[in-house]
Symmetry: C2
Subunit: 290 residues, 2 copies
């Protein structure tokens, strides 16, 4: 039994416990089994659940207060009563199937979304029809801020695997931010972070080689997996090589070639969507040695 983690999985800390195996396979497990897996050894205490349903990572009945992502997502820095107020405006939609769209380019902007489980990609379609991936989103991350200024989403966003999200109507978020200074502060920070991140990618795209971009991408994923308590060294890619290429400004073929070349160098191990980072130090050196 292999051990590659996707953002759909609940990784545990105790050695004895195990986790769900393959991306998108969650639904194939029985609720009972999923419950057993998820309740053993989780870092963040989960409210004793009335029904097993509560445990499924796509379950829409979790409140912000009980969500295991609460310390990464919007509720950070809010106190209990404030979280309760936030909770009231969050809409927990039905899960999204792989390929389903959260919204499409130039749809009217209404909400931002927090990823609860799974993952999403945003992409921009140019007039000439070809698309470019502008971002990947993992649990705890916020989607849709590109629509705030123009009241229309600038990108389309689709689920990469079976995923679930929390919808936060923006006008209500604004209203609440007016009442809760720490929410306003935190949302400014979230947007500032998005800006800083986008500028890093600007640097990456304008000066890094294909190998540097790819190494940087893998390390980025790694630390984002770590953030949600999944293994930073072994994980499943939810996106295709094509998606990665469109994101990094490379072709599918180049991405594939770089993966095999990094493997030959002993830095990573690739098997389809399964990635293992064997030597994070040397991966870092690839980037700084530019």
């Amino acid at each position: 039994m292999s051990q590659f983690w996707s953002a759909n999985q609940t990784q545990t800390n105790s050695e004895g416990s195990r986790a769900i195996l393959v991306a998108n396979s969650v639904e194939k497990k029985s609720d009972i089994e999923a419950a057993k897996l998820a309740t053993t050894g989780g870092k963040i205490p989960v409210r004793p659940s009335a029904t097993v349903l509560k445990i499924c990572p796509h379950n829409s009945a979790v409140s912000c207060a009980s969500c295991r992502l609460s310390e990464l997502c919007l509720p950070i820095a809010l106190n209990k009563s404030e979280i309760h107020q936030l909770d009231a405006i969050v809409e927990r939609n039905r899960p999204f199937k792989k390929g389903e769209h959260l919204y499409r380019q130039s749809d009217e902007f209404k909400s931002v979304y927090a990823v609860r489980s799974g993952s999403f990609k945003s992409y921009f379609l140019s007039d000439s029809g070809q698309g470019r991936v502008t971002g990947f989103y993992m649990p705890g991350e916020i989607i849709g801020m590109d629509g705030i200024a123009s009241h229309k989403y600038a990108n389309s966003t689709a689920a990469l695997e079976h995923s679930s999200i929390c919808e936060i109507p923006f006008s209500q978020l604004e209203k609440l931010s007016q009442e809760l200074p720490s929410l306003q502060h935190h949302f400014f920070a979230i947007m500032g972070n998005e800006i800083a991140k986008d500028q890093q990618i600007h640097t990456l795209l304008s000066s890094y080689t294909a190998e540097e971009r790819t190494a940087s991408f893998l390390l980025g994923l790694s630390s984002r997996y770590a953030r949600v308590s999944l293994s930073p060294t072994r994980f499943l890619l939810s996106m295709t090589r094509g998606d990665i290429g469109e994101y990094l400004g490379l072709t599918v073929e180049t991405v594939s070639r770089i993966f095999t070349s990094l493997q030959k160098k002993g830095l990573i191990s690739v098997n389809n969507r399964e990635i293992e980072l064997l030597n994070i130090e040397n991966l870092r050196e690839i980037i700084s040695g530019s």
Copy 2:
């Protein structure tokens, strides 16, 4: 007498009036002459000035209420009394000389800045010493939002020409946003706009050719000049070819070559830093034909 406009210049609408000639030359004109130029035919009414000094584009005595950029910059959508409150927290610093730094990478984040005149570039220095330009900023635009999340600026920012700015201490901006819903709303919009803009550049860098990037850059400058009532077809570049290259992910040589090639095609006319867009339609076609 040529007619190329820089962000330092005050362009007027009436045909009879003239404007200051060359970038960075403002200080060489007498205050009297500058005053005469600036007061004739300006679109936005300027308060009758007690001293001629008021007219200089770098003059720090202008209030938000009287600033000709007020409808582009932060005060947008604020009413008179609100603008007054904003005014109270804005610090109008001494002008910056060409090359002077507003802040440096990893300085403690304290303020965001609104460009009042001139222009700035932000750039990121990697460990390996080489820098990459992450953005250019023109009058009415906001600088420094990359520092909000981490409390440290992620970039360095320097003046490209003699320039002046309004400093807005961020903690005070937050406090005021708490009181003025429309300020909060507008600042969310400004940040959202920065995010959308950065994602556009992501697309540009990951799929456009050198020619497409350059055309897109020129058209972008053009519409930003138009925003501040300067000619969208004739302007002076305040940045070097090297800066442009670092921004677009190209080398100096390539930028230079593309400029001459676009000139040969009759789309633009280049003379040093003087740019004229001769055929905006065809420039647009270069981009969409990707």
